[in-house]
């Protein structure tokens, strides 16, 4: 399995270092376990074009059979906020079907995940946090993959 994840990530890295869609850029991929990507959102007043959001990807040895762990990472400098969205908690955890075990497929990749998250933000009309955000952020000790999200509002 170890060979599988590193060979595939190596291929993805070569492709990503070539071209990426607008608003998506690679920050670092110093090893094949953790990658940082920056995201900006076009045409949505909730997310000013000057704002950039940082995604952290953590890959297990079983990638791509197993989904990577993808969260938003807050930073002071350069400033990276957690985007306001009814499926994104203040601690950076994202509730998105393709990232959990039920919705994941090994044909997804770093680029397609970035595109999905970028379009989930671009299409958002609600400048708000998920219900129960404060309580979840205070009490959650689980890794994102172990959380059973309730998809309370699939329309968002």
């Amino acid at each position: 399995m170890a060979g599988m994840s590193s060979k595939r990530l190596q291929k993805e890295l070569v492709k990503i270092q070539g071209t990426l869609p607008p608003g998506i850029s690679l920050v670092s991929a110093d090893n094949l376990r953790e990658w940082l990507m920056d995201l900006s959102i076009p045409d949505n007043p909730i997310y000013p074009p000057t704002d950039t959001y940082r995604l952290r990807f953590l890959f297990s040895q079983s990638y791509p059979i197993e989904a990577p762990e993808v969260t938003f990472l807050p930073l002071q400098s350069p400033e990276r906020k957690i985007p306001l969205h009814p499926h994104i908690y203040t601690n950076g955890i994202i509730c998105l079907d393709l990232l959990d075990a039920q919705g994941w497929s090994p044909v997804h990749n770093v680029e397609s995940i970035c595109i999905s998250i970028q379009s989930m933000l671009a299409g958002n009309t609600k400048a708000e946090r998920p219900p129960g955000d404060a309580e979840f952020v205070r009490s959650n000790r689980s890794r994102p993959r172990d959380i059973n999200f309730l998809y309370h509002d699939p329309s968002v």
Binding site: M4, K7, R8, K11, I65, E66, A67, Q102, S105, P106
Partner: protein, 119 residues
């Protein structure tokens, strides 16, 4: 003029006989079908391709790993229909003389100097 060949070196190329609209690469490992999955060293019979009823193709070892994972729920990674291997009689089976190749593997006209590279 009389030409006498003292020796010749034949080179052949092969590729899998896959559905016409199939991708060139396995969606799981992202390696060309004619290359190997990430666990194998030698392409070809040792690292065969499985064609699904849904026409999506994968290296046998790649789709096997996925279907063993609980989260796959037995579904095709591309279309999420239950993954069933297409039976050989549904595809044209190539049987060149002198061999019993796996269904799905087809010989291509010999061309100069290209050997399948294990990637």
């Amino acid at each position: 003029m009389k030409v006498t060949f003292s020796a010749y070196h034949a080179v052949a190329e092969w590729k899998w006989d896959l559905p016409a609209d199939a991708d060139d690469t396995c969606g799981i490992c992202r390696v060309e079908f004619e290359g190997t999955c990430s666990k194998c060293k030698f392409p070809g019979d040792d690292c065969p391709i499985i064609i699904g009823n849904c026409t999506h193709c994968f290296h046998m070892h790649c789709i096997g790993d996925w279907l063993l994972a609980e989260s796959s729920q037995g579904k095709c990674p591309m279309c999420r229909q239950p993954f069933r291997e297409r039976l050989a009689d549904a595809a044209a089976v190539a049987t060149p003389a002198g061999g019993a190749p796996r269904p799905g593997m087809v010989a291509v006209t010999p061309t100069p100097a290209r050997t399948p590279a294990g990637r």
